[in-house]
């Protein structure tokens, strides 16, 4: 019945004989092709009994290559020419129903009529063939379909397929399908087997079934008469519940890390400008917003000029966003912030003014509405870790991206001349100036880089949520919280702060709801700062006593 096995032995023979013609292995011996071709051509028979036999034969032969012809028959697309050969007429494009046969229709084509009793027969036949199709997806779909429409025929087919199936995913699906069929069976042993099989698979979609098996009906009778089945069902229910708990933990962890890396991107720049330079930049959120709008503009630019490379606009947006935010940051530092060093509260107000102006400017240019930033194809979709936990590519990429930005920041801080000078200026400005460091220039570059990193955060945000003029406002409080929690002057603090906030947020959400969860966190931080005003990772030494 199973073609791939036979296929493979034949292939082996062919391999020895014609190494170069390994492809031959995909075709079957000539005698099999003859039977297949004649069977398919017989589908055009007007005699119902003959037609029935042919379908039966094809189904039993289990050759998936008959699938298109049977499917066409079911869809009413199978047509016969005057020479008695079968063809598939797919909306005008006619091809031979026998795969590989290069035949042209002779004379006019007539459609093969199928009555309802025939259709009922075709269903299982198609499913049976699909169960042995070479494509994994087709086999999976067939198993799922058979599970959805339990019948005795289907059970037989599934049992055969279960024995032959080699692919673990498809096998698991077939086991599930069989279990579903067996659960409805009158035979207690079959039900027991099904429950045990389900326990091993741990498929959470059977939670309701297990609950039904372990509970009583309104009359006080157990829904399941057999105590063995009830016991097994209770164990299965427990396994399922454990699995659900695991899924929720893994899911929360993933979403928490994802949120944490967004917060990290938002707060990393702030950790530099606020943490190191002591500049309260209330316009920091707007740097994120500028980054997101830069992404939007690059997307539009690509749509207009390189429509064929739309998938790669995001890559171009990364430097664009960095440069835009960097330039705006440098401009602000030169014109405004530079004059306010040492007056943190004034800086706070002035930068708030800057943020208002930036928001309004973006509104004037792009409108007050949110703009649409599309995910490139390679970011859509996701990777299913567990049933119910899909790690979307966009979030995975954001996590990786934030790690890369973190690495970049670390590199700048610890492995470049600028970073060295910056650290010197932070520790002792006068002394740094005395040994010849141009402190003003260092300030400018540092502020620019801090802003640029926020711009990079904007690129990430544009892939996860809405892009609008108020984007930055939503992150400013959170970013400050990260920096306050993590403590100033240490990147590790920012990372722990961001991840801690992100994960705590996601774990609180199911219990408290998104809003209350956030309130708890803010309350916690307010209390935390009472205990440790220097944050988790305090700088030690003389320069720690600032502000």
């Amino acid at each position: 019945m199973r073609s791939p096995t036979r296929n493979r032995s034949w292939l082996l023979a062919a391999l020895f004989a014609f190494v170069a013609l390994a492809w031959v292995g995909r075709s079957r011996p000539a005698w099999a092709d003859d039977t297949l071709a004649s069977d398919i051509d017989h589908l055009g028979s007007t005699d119902p009994v003959a037609l029935h036999d042919t379908v039966d034969h094809l189904a039993k032969a289990g050759d998936a290559r008959a699938l298109p012809a049977l499917q066409a028959l079911d869809d009413g697309k199978l047509k016969m020419d005057t020479a008695g050969h079968a063809f598939i007429d797919d909306n005008g494009s006619v091809k031979s129903a026998v795969p590989g046969a290069n035949r042209a229709p002779v004379g006019a084509l007539t459609a093969v009529e199928v009555d309802n009793s025939m259709r009922r027969e075709l269903g299982p036949a198609l499913a049976a063939l699909r169960l042995s199709a070479p494509e994994k997806d087709v086999r999976l779909a067939a198993a799922q379909e058979l599970a959805g429409h339990p019948s005795d025929d289907a059970t037989v087919l599934l049992r055969t397929a279960e024995k032959n199936e080699k692919d673990p995913d498809v096998h698991a699906e077939i086991v599930l399908a069989l279990a579903q069929v067996d659960l409805a069976s009158n035979d207690a042993n079959r039900r027991l087997a099904a429950v045990v099989a389900l326990q091993q698979s741990g498929d959470i979609s059977f939670k309701g079934d297990m609950e039904r098996l372990t509970t009583k009906d309104p009359q006080g009778e157990f829904n399941e008469p057999d105590p063995r089945v009830r016991q097994a069902a209770a164990a299965t229910l427990k396994a399922i519940e454990n699995k659900i708990a695991l899924i929720s933990v893994v899911g929360n962890l993933f979403y928490g890390i994802s949120l944490g890396s967004v917060l990290l991107l938002a707060a990393l720049g702030l950790a530099i400008t606020f943490g190191l330079m002591r500049v309260i930049n209330m316009a920091h959120g707007e740097m994120l917003m500028l980054g997101a709008y830069a992404t939007f503009s690059v997307q539009n630019f690509f749509a207009a000029h390189f429509p064929n490379h739309m998938n790669w606009y995001l890559v171009a947006a990364v430097p664009a966003a960095f440069l835009l935010s960097f330039a705006v940051g440098v401009l602000l530092e030169r014109t405004i912030i530079q004059r306010l060093y040492g007056r943190p509260l004034e800086t706070l107000l002035a930068t708030w003014g800057i943020s208002l102006i930036l928001i309004q400017t973006v509104r004037v240019i792009y409108g007050a509405q949110n703009v649409a930033v599309a995910n490139p194809d390679w970011l859509s979709g996701g990777w299913q870790l567990l049933p119910g936990v899909v790690l979307t590519y966009s979030r995975l990429v954001v996590i990786v991206f934030s790690a890369a930005v973190l690495l970049f920041t670390w590199f700048v801080m610890n492995r470049t001349k600028l970073g060295l000078e910056l650290r010197a200026v932070v520790q002792n400005r006068e002394m740094a100036a005395a040994i010849g460091i141009a402190t003003r220039r260092v300030d400018m570059w540092t502020f620019g880089i801090g802003s640029g990193i926020a711009g990079l955060g904007g690129v990430a945000l544009s892939q996860l949520g809405n892009v609008g003029p108020e984007l930055g406002q939503n992150y400013i409080v959170d970013s400050f919280m990260v920096v306050v929690l993590g403590g100033v002057g240490k990147m590790a603090g920012t990372v722990v702060g961001a991840m801690g906030l992100g994960i705590a947020n996601k774990f609180l959400e199911p219990f408290a709801g998104a809003v209350l969860g956030k309130i708890f966190i803010l309350g916690f931080i307010i209390l935390f700062v009472q205990k440790r005003p220097q944050g988790l990772f305090a700088l030690k030494g003389r320069f720690a006593e600032v502000g």
Partner: protein
């Protein structure tokens, strides 16, 4: 008696008192007597509420050097306290003809939550409008000042406070009407709020409250307390080394400032007719700081003038040039901090006493 006159003389020179009395006469007596259009009564009443907030803000920021970015919370809580009373006094005139406020009927609540029970009492509500913000400020301040949180850290956590409370009040389940807040008020202590005379009365009360607030704060800052507050602002550790406990003074002035904000909020809500969580937006609280900065820190009068100027400008520009308003406000923030650090009144005051 002479002690009192000396004390009054310390608060203001002769000309100062005359100017103050004249302003009060014009704003509080003449204006209500001439027939102001209704919209102007409402607008000025609102502005004077803001002026009270600005004075309270000046007390804590201008004199004590603590920049709060959460004063909107105290203002809003004062407003909510009165709003709850107004809500209950609607009685069965609401849309649903129920004794419960409409939003509770809408949420299918069967009875008043416990924290609403006493709000049908007018005196209690007035008291709550002052005590609840004061209490919140006291508790918050107690912990914050005890752990010596100061400077920008304090500003940031007050911002977190207002942000957190805004989120809390936005929830329907919190019991304060969610997004929509409290509105559709009908009467205050039996007087219909739609009546122009009632509006005028509220206006006069607001003016009186503003001047009393001013006098109280002026009294404080010219007293010994005021000198200590300024000393805390300029050199907190030295104050400590001189044997004073800055924490106590800060806590006192911080709580007082919150109570005054509560008062302003309580006067604001009956005149404006609505209170909702957007009053707690962080941006609102920051705007309060700019009123003080524009008028001039540590001048009190300047703070009030700043509040009036900016809100007048806001009312004008948001109608006439809505696109330009944020540019103007943003530019104000920048220009004042860069070029006019003393503010309008502070720059006029040649003695330089106002802001060191």
């Amino acid at each position: 008696m002479s002690a009192l006159t000396t004390r009054l003389g310390e608060m203001h020179g002769k000309r100062g008192w005359i100017a103050l009395a004249a302003t009060f006469a014009v704003v509080g007596v003449v204006l209500p007597l001439v027939h102001m259009p209704d919209y102007l009564v409402a607008l000025l009443g609102k502005f004077f509420c803001y002026a009270i907030v600005a004075i309270a803000m000046d007390l804590i920021w201008g004199f004590t050097g603590i920049l709060s970015l959460g004063h909107g919370v105290f203002f809003a809580i004062g407003g909510y306290a009165i709003g709850m009373y107004l809500m209950l006094s609607i009685g069965e005139q609401g849309v649903y003809r129920s004794k419960l406020p409409d939003f509770m009927v809408f949420l299918d609540w069967k009875e008043l939550p416990w924290f609403w029970r006493a709000s049908d009492n007018f005196l209690f509500s007035c008291l709550a409008a002052l005590v609840v913000p004061g209490l919140l400020a006291y508790v918050f301040g107690y912990f914050a000042f005890r752990s010596r949180i100061k400077g920008v850290y304090f500003s940031i956590i007050t911002q977190a406070l207002t942000f957190a409370l805004m989120l809390l009040f936005f929830r329907n389940d919190t019991g304060f009407g969610g997004n929509n807040g409290l509105t559709d008020f009908k009467q205050l202590y039996g007087y219909p709020l739609a009546d122009p005379h009632v509006k005028l009365g509220l206006y006069v009360i607001t003016v009186v409250a503003l001047f009393l607030t001013y006098l109280l704060c002026r009294f404080l800052v010219t007293a010994k307390v005021g000198r200590i507050l300024r000393a805390i602002r300029d050199a907190e550790s030295r104050v400590m080394f001189c044997g004073y406990d800055p924490k106590k003074y800060k806590l006192f002035v911080w709580t007082l400032s919150a109570v005054l904000c509560g008062l302003a909020g309580a006067l604001y809500v009956p005149q404006v007719g609505i209170i909702n969580p957007s009053e707690m937006q962080p941006s609102n609280s920051i705007e309060m700081a700019i009123w003080v900065a524009v008028g001039g820190r540590a001048t009190l009068v300047g703070a009030a003038v700043g509040a009036l100027l900016i809100n007048a400008a806001k009312s004008y520009f948001t109608v006439a040039l809505p696109e330009a308003w944020l540019y103007i406000l943003g530019a104000l923030f920048i220009a004042v901090t860069l070029f006019v650090p003393k503010g309008v009144i502070g720059s006029l005051d040649k003695s330089g006493r106002a802001f060191s």
